[in-house]
């Protein structure tokens, strides 16, 4: 399962969704596990973090802002 971690800035979430769709064309993927941080300046919520570390096999994040 691919974890997508959006920092909530700009249109990063739209980009990550599109990126997942493109990856799905290139590889056999299950559904994504998408996390949108509740604030751009703090880590994901503990529950989201647990889901990421327990369920995701790889993760994609962005940096910036």
């Amino acid at each position: 399962m691919v974890g997508l971690v959006a920092n909530g800035l700009g249109d990063g979430e739209i980009f990550l969704d599109a990126l997942y769709d493109e990856l799905a064309k290139l590889s056999d993927l299950q559904a994504p596990l998408k996390v949108v941080k509740s604030s751009v300046s703090i880590p994901p919520e503990p529950g989201d973090w647990s889901r990421l570390t327990e369920e995701a096999t790889v993760a994609i994040t962005g940096f910036g802002g």
Binding site: G3, D11, F15, A18, D21, L26, A56, F63, G65
Partner: protein, 73 residues
């Protein structure tokens, strides 16, 4: 990086103009060799992108992300 520490292979996508900042974070976190994928102009550093820009960039980045996550980069 924290996802990596938690055992989840990860890749971070960074604008070329922000690479210095990202590398600084990596350095202070003790991961100086952490790899980043970079985006450059014409995509501006702040991701207020049109839907078309998002889709076009996603198409370009997907093979690079796949290669990085599968160790084929």
């Amino acid at each position: 990086m924290e996802l990596e520490w938690a055992g989840v292979p990860s890749i971070a996508i960074v604008h070329e103009e922000m690479r210095g900042s990202a590398q600084a974070i990596a350095r202070v976190s003790g991961c100086s060799d952490y790899g980043f994928l970079t985006v450059n102009y014409p995509w501006v550093p702040i991701a207020i992108w049109s839907k078309e820009e998002c889709l076009e960039l996603a198409e370009i980045m997907a093979p690079k992300v796949l290669a990085a996550l599968t160790g084929q980069a």
